[in-house]
Symmetry: C2
Subunit: 112 residues, 2 copies
Amino acid sequence: MPDTEEKKCRRDIDHLIASVSEDELGELAELFKIFGDSTRIKILYALFSGEKNVTEICEAIDMNQSAVSHQLKILKTSKLIQSRREGKSVVYSLADDHVKTIIAMGREHIEE
Amino acid sequence: MPDTEEKKCRRDIDHLIASVSEDELGELAELFKIFGDSTRIKILYALFSGEKNVTEICEAIDMNQSAVSHQLKILKTSKLIQSRREGKSVVYSLADDHVKTIIAMGREHIEE
DNA sequence: GCATCGTATGATAATATATTCATATGAATA
DNA sequence: TATTCATATGAATATATTATCATACGATGC
């Protein structure tokens, strides 16, 4: 009898979390720490709908430019976002789809 | 032509992250903040293999009892773990599967 | 070159967080 | 009930983190 999709998924997850070293757990904590700030989460969420420059991000989340730039740097260092210069402005975008997935999982947990 | 599993999954995620209120983003940040500490991640990971009492957790992650108890309280308040008394000891276990999923997603991101 | 717009950054102050120490509570048992 | 084992908790210290302010940097246009 073939596995259900759910069973397959469960097994994948179990495989992903098996044999995690202490170092990796530390890295994981560092990663989640990045998500654990409402300013940064708002920035990430603002980028869900597509790339934005710094000024646009500031408007979207209603925070001043300096605070946003500081957090953008942290997000970029963590490789959650990427940037490119376009004339006078710098345009930011999500680095990959894991950001969306991680936030979606978090939301699932909250909604229970 | 029917959707692939991957397409379905992508659509589910997009749905989950659409229309998130500012309050919800704050709750999300609070949730991820819990994962963003290496002691707490270690505790959660220690519970992946099954329930443990406080003493066993202390041994598993090599931290003193007081520090562990403080973090256990935070994890329990966030509903990531649950507990029950068993004689002199208190046994802790993961509250649901989302914990595993969230950590698995984090690990996927790191491994790139 | 100079002014201006957009962004980045360093220093500071305010706040939050984790660990430790001491001690309290709670359950079992002699 | 006095003692011991297991866990919880309050206070204090140490550390980390964030927003703000001032200012610097980079690109564009005059």
